[in-house]
């Protein structure tokens, strides 16, 4: 198991390296990075100063070295708009994003797991068809449009929920549902296919041959096995939710990292944009690593692998 974890750790490091190269590469080769790194409307003197400061006249490997050195120190630059350290800014927005993602995840699992199980148990039946339509709609309706419709219905017509902002539990409901909607469909699909696969397995057949009640066959023998891939996906999706919430957060003016990214674009605050992408990618690489390790803990087949 230790070797397994070390190997995964190695993959993660390679991924992080390539991630930084990717970001670095795109900033340098697509035009003049100095233009991106100075505030909008800066003078030629400012541009030259920035070139000096970041060593943009140096060869690329040297530039990359100093880029990495800055990142390693946690120095993602200064925000032009907020005039503060970008990392601090990012971290101050993270809790709101995590709250939103967690509630969205609860929605998506509460909707996705039962519908997926029912669809698999009643495969090709009425429930299954309803589930298929739901999944298709979920994957086809952009989350921010769902959010806009909810505002129209619950805030404008019914006046039940606040249309934007944060602070109370009521504020989180609509953005979380809009964000969780897409993932509910994804979780439903995976639960269904994973359940179907498990229900066709020999060990479920044996559980039935033992004379177990159907509830136990499905609830114990099938569900626990079917849950492994779903939980894996959910773990990755939780982090993905933090990083794809840009549009939903913009719609609801939710003060998370997605909204920060939007502000970064709107105010042409490039250091903020770059940091958000870098940190988002790093988060996903890390969670992939964690999920792999957790996998090893849950699944005895990997746990005892030497």
């Amino acid at each position: 198991m230790r070797r397994f974890i070390l190997r995964r750790l190695g993959f993660a490091v390679v991924s992080l390296f390539l991630l930084s190269v990717t970001i670095f590469f795109f900033v340098r080769v697509t035009g003049d990075p100095a233009v991106l790194l100075v505030e909008p409307g800066a003078s030629q003197a400012d541009l030259d100063a920035i070139r000096q400061q970041f060593g943009l006249d140096q060869p690329l490997p040297v530039q990359y070295g100093s880029f990495i050195a800055h990142l390693a120190r946690g120095d993602f630059g200064q925000s032009f708009y907020y005039r503060t350290d970008v990392l601090e800014l990012y971290l101050s927005r993270l809790p709101a994003s995590l709250l939103l993602a967690t509630v969205a995840m609860v929605f998506s699992l509460v909707i996705g797991l039962p519908t997926g199980i029912v669809a698999a148990v009643r495969v090709n039946g009425w429930w299954d068809s309803a589930g298929k339509i739901f999944a298709l709609l979920g994957l086809s309706m952009p989350s921010f449009w769902v959010g806009l419709l909810m505002i129209l219905f619950f805030s404008v017509y019914l006046g039940w929920l606040p249309s934007s902002g944060s602070g109370t539990l009521l504020h989180v409901l609509m953005p979380a549902f809009a964000l969780g909607w897409y993932f509910a469909a994804a979780h439903m699909r995976l639960t269904r296919s994973s359940m179907l696969e498990v229900l066709g397995s020999e060990y479920v057949k044996l559980a039935r041959l033992k004379g177990l009640p159907e509830a136990l066959v499905i609830g114990k023998h099938a569900f626990k096995n079917a849950l492994i891939p779903v939980l894996t996906l959910a773990g990755i999706n939780l982090v993905l939710m933090v990083n794809v919430a840009v549009v939903v957060e913009t719609v609801f003016a939710w003060p998370g990292v997605g909204r920060l990214l939007y502000e970064g674009i709107a105010f042409r605050d490039f250091p903020v944009v770059q940091a958000t992408v870098l940190l988002g990618g790093a988060m996903i690489v890390t969670v992939n690593l964690i999920v792999d390790v957790l996998y090893a803990v849950i699944d005895p087949r990997i746990r005892y692998e030497r």
């Binding site: 495969v123 060990y203 044996l206 041959l209 004379g211 177990l212 005895p300 005892y304």
Partner: protein
């Protein structure tokens, strides 16, 4: 000896999703089984052996339907039993060992949990009591150090051990009938022999009746009292093992027996059966075996033969048998 199982005219069909194609996987099969007796069911893959076994337990895949017949077990027709009662028979009165021991155990639960499960369900035993029994059962199927093994997971066991554990699960509630569906196909030859010996010992110790599904006639000869040969969903020949092996009435049985290689018989050619088994969804008219039959007659192409009595407790579905009589 008393009659334990009496199957009459059992037919199971697979219906395609749109109901347009019907496959007669099991077609008018009848046989009987005494207590403590072993019946071997042989046939090529796709001949309906497994569907027959699952029909007896009413655990068919959703596309399959039992369309006719009765399955009398200890006097009652299983096909008429309510689902809850049927569930109490599975694992308790009738147990089954599946083809693939590697896949039959749930990877996420311990061996002890899985062996103890039927005992807890059917006999209402507590966890502790059931686990004590589980250890005894593991010992009975010759697993060493059962007190350690109960806490381990299936992936830590070899194929032979897993299959013995599946055997332990099967006998855990002392069933009257054990159905073994090609239980040794995925095992090494040496382990096969051990496992067959184990099954026979268990059978004697518990006075079990057994249905042994296989395509290996050597195993049938070793294990069974009687044998039934299936072809394209039908039971083409059935009878006591000596009679079938010495005087097979059906050309298919004859061909099967000739395809067994024999030691010390250097000159005899190993004969394979010409042609392919029929498409079960679209069987040939008349006798399903006629396109491959070396002794095919005009009659065979037009009308499927009924079950004909050939000798004492031997039957065959073949027009040749009608002539012989």
């Amino acid at each position: 000896m008393s009659l334990l199982l009496d199957v009459r005219g059992l037919s199971t069909h697979y219906v395609s999703a749109r109901g347009t194609r019907v496959t007669r996987a099991v077609d008018q099969v009848s046989f009987a089984l005494e207590e403590g007796e072993t019946l071997g069911i042989v046939g090529e893959s796709g001949s309906g052996k497994t569907t027959l076994a699952l029909s007896l337990l009413r655990l068919l895949p959703p596309a399959a339907r039992i369309v006719a017949g009765e399955v009398r077990f200890e006097g009652d027709d299983l096909l008429r039993k309510p689902a809850a009662e049927m569930r109490r028979i599975r694992g308790k009165r009738i147990a089954m060992i599946l083809q693939d021991p590697m896949a039959s155990l749930n990877p996420l639960f311990t061996i002890g949990d899985q062996v103890a499960e039927p005992i807890r369900i059917h006999e209402g035993a507590g966890r502790r009591g059931a686990w004590v029994r589980a250890r005894e059962l593991l010992r009975a199927v010759r697993i060493s150090a059962p007190e350690l093994r109960v806490r381990e997971y299936p992936h830590q066991m070899s194929g032979g051990m897993r299959q013995r554990i599946v055997g332990a699960i099967a006998i855990s509630c002392e069933p009257r009938l054990l159905i073994a569906d090609e239980p040794t196909t995925s095992l090494d030859v040496t382990i096969q022999a051990q496992y067959l010996n184990l099954l026979r010992d268990l059978q004697r110790a518990h006075h079990l009746a057994m249905i042994f599904i296989t395509h290996n006639l050597g195993i049938v000869a070793k294990m069974c009292d009687r044998v039934a040969v299936m072809y394209a969903g039908r039971m083409v020949e059935g009878g006591p093992i000596r009679k079938i092996f010495n005087a097979p009435a059906h050309p298919y049985t004859k061909a099967l027996l000739e395809s067994i290689p024999r030691l010390g018989d250097g000159r005899a050619r190993l004969t394979a059966i010409d042609g392919q088994p029929p498409d079960p969804a679209n069987p040939p008219a008349g006798c399903a075996f006629h396109p491959r039959c070396p002794r095919v007659m005009d009659h065979c192409r037009q009308e499927a033969p009924p079950e004909l009595v050939v000798g004492e407790s031997q039957t065959a579905r073949c027009w040749l048998a009608a002539d012989r009589r």
